[in-house]
């Protein structure tokens, strides 16, 4: 038996040990057959411990997978030009040359849906109510004022402006990609919620695993159930555990914000209230936690202003929000 063969056998016994029908007598006999078997098993078991002890670091460091698991399945070709191919080896060396300079998806705020030149075929806008959309194996609940750009037939890449919840059926042949602001979320079968702003994004995962990656970054951040991440304008990604309330559906209940950058919160309230809100950039990056009941636009804006310490300045159709002067003095950030 070659060395390689022994290690593979050891790894097979190791992988099987949690199975209810593990053949312990067979394993004992295998161990007895040679001291090298025992040593190989030691190596595998200790490696396993090593991996377990570095689990969090490994999860953070690992680049997201891009290639689908099933062999022979085409990589989605409807990728917009801003996509960079991180995995030339996985995709075949020739494709590496395709990697183009990143073209920023520009989202102005209050935003028109962002569409790049080779934009996908179809757009769905929620208007002033919640809208359900089925696309590429996912059920998408689109918040008021939000827009989805759908892929051409067979594509799996969606561009989101605004907020949406995704319920993705797992399909080994397909990885859903959601592009929002300058970030990309990849997913293989989960439920998650996305709030996009002009240059940042918040992702909360209720089930499964998703990866959040900044355009052009070589690595993304993996998020599992109960975790959330905030992709910030400078490309950094902050992760935290989401509170259960923040994971609850917003489709019927109140809007729950959990230490979210204020500009994302204002963008979200603007969509739900159907008003145009402009936030003073000086206040945009402070964080806001609070609950805002769904109601008519004016009451939602009032609640936000009160809770966040903002001053409301109405000029025609445009509502400007800025830090209250007394707050500016009190808070030195």
């Amino acid at each position: 038996m070659s060395e390689t063969g022994i290690f593979e056998q050891a790894a097979e016994w190791h992988a099987r040990q949690d199975a209810p029908d593990m053949d312990w007598a067979g394993f004992t006999a295998w161990l007895d057959a040679s001291p090298r078997h025992r040593d190989a098993f030691d190596d595998i078991a200790l490696l396993d411990e090593d991996i377990a002890s570095h689990r969090d670091t490994l999860r953070r460091q690992l680049a997201p997978e891009v290639a689908p698991i099933a062999p022979g399945v085409a990589f989605p070709l409807a990728a917009p030009p801003s996509r960079r191919l991180r995995w030339p080896l996985a995709l075949g060396g020739g494709l590496a040359a395709v990697a183009a300079a990143a073209v920023a998806v520009v989202v102005t705020y209050p935003s028109a849906p962002s569409v790049s030149a080779s934009a996908p075929a179809r757009q769905v806008a929620a208007g002033d109510s919640v809208r359900q959309v089925a696309v590429a194996g996912a059920r998408v609940t689109l918040a008021p004022g939000s827009t989805l750009a759908l892929p051409a037939s067979g594509g799996t890449e969606i561009a989101l402006t605004g907020r949406a919840s995704f319920d993705v059926t797992h399909d080994p042949a397909r990885t859903l990609v959601v592009r929002v602001a300058d970030y990309e979320i990849t997913d293989v079968g989960t439920r998650f919620d996305v709030i996009g702003g002009s240059d940042s994004v918040r992702v909360k995962v209720a089930e499964g695993v998703v990866t959040l990656r900044r355009d052009g970054a070589s690595q993304g951040v993996r998020l599992t159930a109960g975790e959330m991440a905030t992709g910030l304008p400078d490309g950094s990604i902050a992760t935290a555990h989401a509170t259960p309330a923040a994971l609850a559906g917003w489709q019927r209940g109140p809007l729950v914000y959990d230490a979210m950058p204020l500009d994302l919160v204002v963008a979200d309230v603007a969509r739900f209230s159907g008003r145009t809100l402009l936030l003073d950039p000086a206040a945009s990056k402070r964080s806001f936690s609070g609950v805002i009941a769904r109601g008519d636009g004016a009451s939602m804006i009032d609640a936000l202003a009160t809770l966040a310490g903002l001053e409301v300045d109405k000029q025609g159709d445009t509502i400007r929000l800025r830090d209250r002067p007394d707050r500016e003095r009190a808070v030195a950030d």
Binding site: A11, M22, I51, R59
Partner: protein, 185 residues
């Protein structure tokens, strides 16, 4: 002497199964550790582990499959000893390049050794990351789901539409690959 102390209380189901299985557990531990004396000690560890001084551990609860449970517990006590063994060997210098034992229980002698251990540890994690990224796609997917995300085999099998033994094969392949990659480092 190996006979576990008599419990004041009625023996639990697990204790009864243990009595029945004592012989085969000892055989298993002997094969696993390659040393009959150490196997006896490990069996004692095992008994104490699920049946501490104050009787069965609180929270031990009913065990669905006591046989598998006891074997897995035996695996764990054996691994504790294997780890300790390797650590001793590393300390004795004969196997100083094995970095397994630089983990949680490492006992650096001075601050420099501490810093060096951290460096070695860092390199090891970097090497692991690279090795995981180089895994074949299917093996990587299953490995990540199970080892890093903690998804049980059955759930992975269902999610990916493959058999449980397919999951085990992917995992075994991944572990064998990773071991080789790290050994070649």
């Amino acid at each position: 002497m190996m006979t576990p102390p008599d419990s004041e209380t009625e023996p639990s189901g697990l204790a009864l199964v243990y009595q029945d299985m004592r012989g085969e557990l000892l055989r298993f531990l002997t094969a696993r550790l390659g040393d009959a004396g150490e196997a006896e000690e490990a069996l004692q560890d095992l008994w104490l582990r699920f049946h501490g001084d104050a009787g069965p551990r609180p929270g031990a609860g009913p065990v669905g499959n006591p046989r598998a449970y006891l074997y897995r517990a035996a695996q764990n006590v054996a691994l504790d000893r294997v780890r300790e063994r390797r650590r001793r060997r590393a300390r004795d210098g004969a196997w100083a390049d094995l970095s397994y034992d630089r983990g949680a229980g490492g006992e650096p002698i001075d601050a420099n050794a501490d810093a060096e251990a951290a460096l070695v540890e860092n390199e090891r994690v970097t090497a692991l990351t690279a090795a995981i990224e180089a895994l074949p796609t299917g093996a990587r997917r299953v490995f990540t789901l199970h080892k890093l995300d903690g998804v049980p085999h059955a759930a992975i099998a269902e999610q990916l539409g493959i058999s449980r033994s397919g999951v085990e094969k992917h995992l075994a392949l991944a572990m064998a690959h990773l071991r080789r990659a790290l050994a070649e480092q």
